[in-house]
């Protein structure tokens, strides 16, 4: 019988893995808020979840970017003097995003907000170092970022495409000016729809009800306002009751696109409507969560 071959020595160590008390560093509330922020973004986009949860966000984002790709293709294929006539301008592209934005608001915002209450996770958050303000701030931040996916980023994508294809603004200064207008427009639109979706989601723990409510509110208010305006008797500002159109009207003023502006309504009234809707929605969210009793 041969002697066993000695094992070569190595630096391998066996660590005693297992639960133990923790006395290491603890970060502040910011870490907790960031974790809620990241978890919300992941949840909304269906990350770390089954494929069926990714369908709606992917489809909506697809809707937001496809027109930009088409316009860029047109810019590449057609001479620039023709392309300029065919492709959408920046304010116009924000308008093209309206369907994507409404769908995204209706399906993503309730997913981020309502499910925490129906799943009992909200109570667990409130039993943690986070309070309601921390929670809502993290949720709002995540929703604004998510909204950027269908508001700001597609238009920035379009800007880059136009610049690359020589139909964008001339020179660095002009490019930065357009960039600034797009950034402000994207932010205004994202804040508006994030708050509107949050307000609707505050009122119910049922995602489906919140989604239906958002679609009906945005489309129904627009139809209502159009009927009143077209009847001829209503003052011009009634058009601002169409909630979905308010941020697009503000954006058309930022880009000074008079064709897209609501006739007979001043810039102050338009911005005031935007701010008013945001304030009312924020108040609904704040009031709703303040009186929300954590019972489980």
């Amino acid at each position: 019988m041969t002697a066993p071959t000695p094992m070569p020595s190595s630096d391998a160590e066996i660590f005693d893995r297992g639960y133990r008390p923790y006395d290491g560093p603890r970060n502040g509330v910011g870490t907790g808020m960031f974790s809620v922020f990241v978890a919300s973004v992941q949840r909304a986009l269906g990350l770390r979840r089954k494929f069926r949860f990714k369908v709606v966000p992917i489809a909506t984002i697809f809707i937001a970017y496809v027109p930009a790709l088409v316009f860029m293709g047109v810019a590449v294929l057609l001479p620039s003097e023709f392309a300029d006539e065919v492709v959408a301008d920046y304010a116009g592209y924000f308008g093209l995003l309206s369907i994507a934005v409404i769908l995204f608001t209706a399906f993503v915002v309730p997913e981020v907000l309502s499910t925490d209450r129906s799943s009992g996770l909200f109570g667990m958050y409130m039993a943690s170092p986070l309070n309601r303000v921390h929670y809502l701030a993290a949720k709002f931040g995540s929703l604004v970022l998510l909204m950027f996916l269908v508001t700001l980023f597609p238009v920035l994508f379009l800007l880059v495409g136009y610049v690359v294809n020589d139909i964008g603004p001339d020179g660095f200064v002009n490019t930065m000016e357009v960039f600034g207008k797009i950034a402000v427009s994207g932010l205004l639109m994202s804040v508006y729809f994030a708050l509107l979706g949050m307000a609707a989601s505050t009122m119910t723990t049922r995602k489906g009800f919140a989604s239906a409510g958002i679609v009906m509110l945005l489309i129904g208010s627009g139809v209502f306002a159009s009927v009143l305006v077209e009847s001829g008797d209503a003052p011009a500002w009634v058009a601002l009751l169409g909630l979905a159109g308010v941020p697009f009207d503000v954006i058309s003023r930022i880009f000074d696109e008079q064709v897209d502006q609501i006739e007979g309504v001043g810039t102050l009234a338009s911005v005031g409507a935007w701010a008013g809707v945001c304030a009312v929605c924020a108040a609904i969210v704040a009031f709703g969560y303040k009186r929300l009793e954590v019972t489980k």
Partner: protein, 310 residues
């Protein structure tokens, strides 16, 4: 913030709380020492409300409540970082993996992501879900969900965990396992545990201390061993003159049950006065005393006595 050095991890002094016109607590006073403490009361007695107040979710209308030496209604996030909580309900996000939920809860309690990931894994192994940690919670049984709730309550390394009905919905085997786990968490890792339950037998098995709540007040609180002994009276064993001692005790106004080889002497408060009275009676008739010891009540007897006869 370091855990309190005080002998009480939870204290309540004159706490009152109402929900609208329904008074939940009136003048609730108790001290909860280190170890495992059972919060006993019938359904609707306010156990969950008390846990909610300890978490700072509800504020007392009057009185002073402290956990780890701090007022939970006004303490900052540093206090809540040291508290773990497992709610009564079994609703958890169904499509989230157990590992992700536990890590997330550890992160919101201030742990860095890497540390939270490691500790989430360790916690799930501890509660017996190591192999199942990547499974969505929605695919888990009630017993597994209870374990996930326990894992998320301890993953961030709390000083105290508040467990609301932790054995609710479990079969007897799962309940035994869960009670053993809770006992281990306190004994092996030094985490104080306050668990609410209406099941006396399980509290009796694992708790060092008990707080019995009924009609908005604390009916009894303290170490179970102390509460059980003496409250049922004392047993006197004599080699002779049993009848004489019984007569002497009855003459002192005590209730005496003469059994075959012993006398069971009824309760008086305080308990040490009963022992003194028995000693005096035995001495007066010069009876040969063989043994004198307190009657031990079960927790159930104690609960029934305190809740229904007080």
């Amino acid at each position: 913030m370091a855990p309190t050095s005080n002998s009480s991890v939870v204290s309540a002094a004159g706490v009152s709380k109402s929900w609208g016109t329904h008074r939940v607590f009136s003048n609730l006073t108790a001290e909860v020492p280190h170890g495992v403490t059972g919060l006993l009361g019938s359904n609707g007695s306010g156990k969950t409300t008390l846990l909610g107040m300890l978490l700072g979710l509800h504020h007392p209308d009057a009185g002073e409540l402290r956990i780890l030496g701090e007022d939970p209604a006004h303490a900052g996030p540093q206090l809540r970082q040291l508290i773990g909580y497992s709610p009564e309900h079994h609703d958890l996000p169904n499509d989230v993996a157990a590992q992700d939920l536990v890590r997330h809860i550890a992160q919101i309690h201030g742990l860095a992501r890497r540390e939270a990931t490691t500790r989430a894994s360790d916690s799930l192994w501890l509660v017996g879900l190591g192999e199942e940690r990547a499974r969505p919670i929605g695919t888990m049984s009630t017993g597994q969900r209870q374990r996930v709730k326990l894992a998320q309550a301890i993953a961030h390394g709390p000083s105290i965990v508040l467990l609301d009905e932790p054995t609710d919905g479990l079969d007897p085997v799962q309940r035994d396992d869960m009670l053993e786990l809770i006992r281990r968490i306190s004994a092996d890792f030094g985490i104080d545990v306050v668990l609410s339950s209406h099941l006396l037998e399980e509290v009796e098995r694992i708790a060092d201390n008990v707080v019995i709540i009924a009609d908005g007040t604390v009916r009894a609180s303290g170490p179970i061993s102390e509460l059980r002994s003496g409250r049922g009276g004392v047993i006197v064993q004599l080699t002779d003159k049993s009848s004489d001692v019984a007569a002497a005790l009855r003459a002192s106004g005590l209730v005496v049950d003469e059994q075959r080889d012993r006398l069971v002497v009824g309760t008086v408060e305080p308990a040490n006065e009963l022992v003194d009275a028995v000693r005096d009676a035995v001495a007066d008739v010069q009876a040969p005393l063989r043994r004198l010891y307190p009657v031990e009540q079960s927790l159930e007897e104690l609960f029934l006595t305190e809740v229904y006869t007080s």
